[in-house]
């Protein structure tokens, strides 16, 4: 869920100008969960994800003087996270080059309250199976927008694709889910 974050820009000014560690701590606590989750999708390992997310944050701290010129810190941090994660994957894989498109991961639909809506385990499984075959970039778009509340534009610059493509990916993912729903409930 998009959480309301403290004013990241004022935190950054404090970090860039005064080396303020308290501001850095706040920045860390606002960004770390999203970065960790994003790295986890890519790396499939808690330890690696935690390490990379921590490395992203220290990169921000090391380059703090330049932070004042960064326009969108969230996108900036996610792009660093993407690059560091791909570096890790490249190092660990026998393949010469890993691209975002080659990474496998699943959309997991969790924690639905059965009282709120009639979704049973079976339906959940069906939904997950249906989304499994989506291209990985499509799933990643779905996750970034849904989990981190990022905008089309932000998602586009993190994944290095156009906002139109982001829109298309999201529509595709939603469509797949709606098809399952349609069959299940005999909708039109």
């Amino acid at each position: 869920m998009p959480k309301h974050l403290p004013d990241l820009n004022s935190l950054i000014s404090h970090i860039a100008l005064y080396n303020n560690e308290n501001a850095y701590e706040k920045l860390f606590k606002s960004l770390f969960p999203s970065l960790y989750r994003f790295c986890f999708y890519l790396l499939k390992s808690r330890e690696l994800a935690e390490e990379v997310a921590s490395d992203v944050m220290i990169t921000l701290w090391r380059d703090r003087e330049k932070l004042a010129e960064v326009r969108n810190i969230k996108v900036y941090a996610f792009v660093i996270a993407r690059n560091l994660s791909l570096n890790v994957l490249n190092k660990h894989s026998k393949q010469e080059w890993v691209s975002l498109d080659d990474i496998e991961f699943e959309i997991v639909l969790d924690n639905l309250n059965p009282e709120q809506i009639l979704i049973n385990d079976e339906l959940k499984k069906k939904l997950e199976v249906a989304t499994e075959k989506l291209p990985s970039q499509c799933k990643l778009v779905f996750k970034l927008i849904k989990e981190d509340g990022l905008s089309y534009k932000e998602t586009a610059s993190i994944l290095n694709i156009s906002p139109k493509t982001v829109d298309a990916h999201l529509v595709t993912a939603i469509k797949k889910m709606s098809n399952v729903l349609k069959a299940e409930f005999n909708l039109m």
């Binding site: 869920m1 004022s10 000014s13 860039a16 100008l17 005064y18 080396n19 560690e21 308290n22 701590e25 860390f28 606590k29 770390f32 969960p33 960790y36 989750r37 986890f40 999708y41 808690r46 935690e50 997310a53 921590s54 944050m57 220290i58 701290w61 090391r62 003087e65 004042a68 010129e69 997991v108 639909l109 969790d110 924690n111 639905l112 309250n113 709120q116 809506i117 979704i119 996750k143 927008i145 849904k146 989990e147 509340g149 905008s151 089309y152 829109d167 999201l170 529509v171 993912a173 939603i174 469509k175 889910m177 709606s178 729903l181 409930f185 909708l187 039109m188």
Partner: protein, 355 residues
């Protein structure tokens, strides 16, 4: 097919990217095809439930691990370490104690060498504008009738401090951990690497700081606890006026009564096809002013053309002008202005009389 369109619009709505007309279209479609309400409900539920599968490590723990891992990157500060509860992390107290000693020794050491005694002075006389490069690589454009002083070994200092009387534009060279500080009579500006203009003529009631890019932090002298951070294209002005008894700006209630602080965006002066930024175009030898009375222009003209302006007609003082001059002499300038408002002038060697 309407269903595809509904799904498409729903996706955008969930992402918060739907436009107003798309939302209207969606509502319209849903009323026409009531079945689609199920889709909406279902997808919204799905969307709102966050993915708990990747359980995120506790951020406090993560931050602690992070600061321990990269201990060397952070400046040791006793009060930050205090946050760490002490029973659990006894060893940290030891580290903190050692660091505290190091900090206090180094603070003592640096403070000794910190007296500001400028030994270099650069002066631009009236009618003269200068461009200088400081030893640290910072570029300074010094406007007429201004003085900049600094220490010649500025490059070896912990803080790069310069003292300014008058107006100057700074393009500060980026130096890791050596902040650049500009002091004037009334203001103090701290920067890392950025470009900005400061105007602080002792005769003017108003002191100004204008930021072009980067970020600066400024404080009013005698009130140094109150810091103001400027973003690009913002302009800070401090007006001292003994007659004003009440502070106008409500965001700064604890300012002395005779000071007004304002922050506003730079508004470029648009003349014909071109835009001019009044605050910085003097660097390109352009004199730019917008809707200013002749009385306000007097000090500007005196500095720019190195003349003395006297008024013999009260009425002329309140005429307002907007204009851009580049290489014109005072005579050409005033002649051009005569076309707009009726006034006469006499020109002696260094005196202008307006009547």
């Amino acid at each position: 097919m309407y269903k595809n369109r509904i799904i498409e619009l729903l996706a955008r709505k969930l992402a918060g990217e739907a436009t107003k007309s798309e939302l209207e279209e969606l509502n319209d479609l849903i009323t026409r095809y009531p079945d689609s309400v199920y889709y909406e409900e279902f997808l919204e539920q799905l969307w709102l439930n966050s993915d708990e599968q990747t359980d995120i490590p506790d951020v406090d723990q993560a931050y602690l691990a992070h600061t321990l891992k990269f201990r060397d990157e952070f400046e040791p500060k006793p009060q930050t370490n205090k946050i760490v509860g002490f029973r659990k992390y006894k060893s940290l107290i030891g580290i903190a104690a050692i660091l505290l000693v190091i900090v206090s020794v180094s603070v003592f050491y640096f403070n000794r060498g910190h007296k500001f005694s400028p030994d270099t002075e650069i002066v631009a006389g009236k009618g003269i504008r200068k461009k200088i490069k400081l030893p640290d690589g910072t570029l300074v454009w010094l406007n007429s009738d201004s003085k900049l002083s600094y220490e010649s070994d500025i490059n070896q200092k912990e803080k790069r401090i310069v003292y300014l009387i008058g107006e100057a534009f700074f393009d500060v060279a980026h130096h890791k951990s050596h902040p650049f500080i500009v002091r004037t009579d009334k203001l103090c500006v701290k920067v890392l690497g950025t470009a900005f203009n400061i105007k602080a003529y002792p005769v003017d009631k108003k002191s100004e700081a204008t930021l072009i890019r980067g970020s600066i932090e400024l404080s009013v002298n005698d009130r140094s606890e109150q810091k103001i951070i400027l973003s690009p294209s913002e302009k800070f002005a401090l007006v001292e006026d003994k007659k004003v008894l009440h502070v106008k700006s409500d965001q700064a209630p604890d300012v002395p009564k005779d000071i007004t602080l304002t922050i506003q965006h730079i508004v470029p002066v648009r003349i014909g096809e071109n835009e001019y930024i009044e605050e910085t175009s003097w660097r390109d030898s352009q004199l730019v002013f917008q809707n200013e009375s002749l009385e306000d222009l007097k000090p500007k003209f005196e500095r720019w053309f190195n003349v003395k302006v006297n008024f013999e007609a009260e009425k002329a003082k309140s005429y307002r002008f907007t204009g851009v001059f580049k290489n014109e002499t005072i005579e050409e300038t005033l002649k051009a202005m005569q076309l707009i408002k009726p006034f006469n002038f006499k020109l002696k060697e260094h005196d202008v009389i307006i009547y």
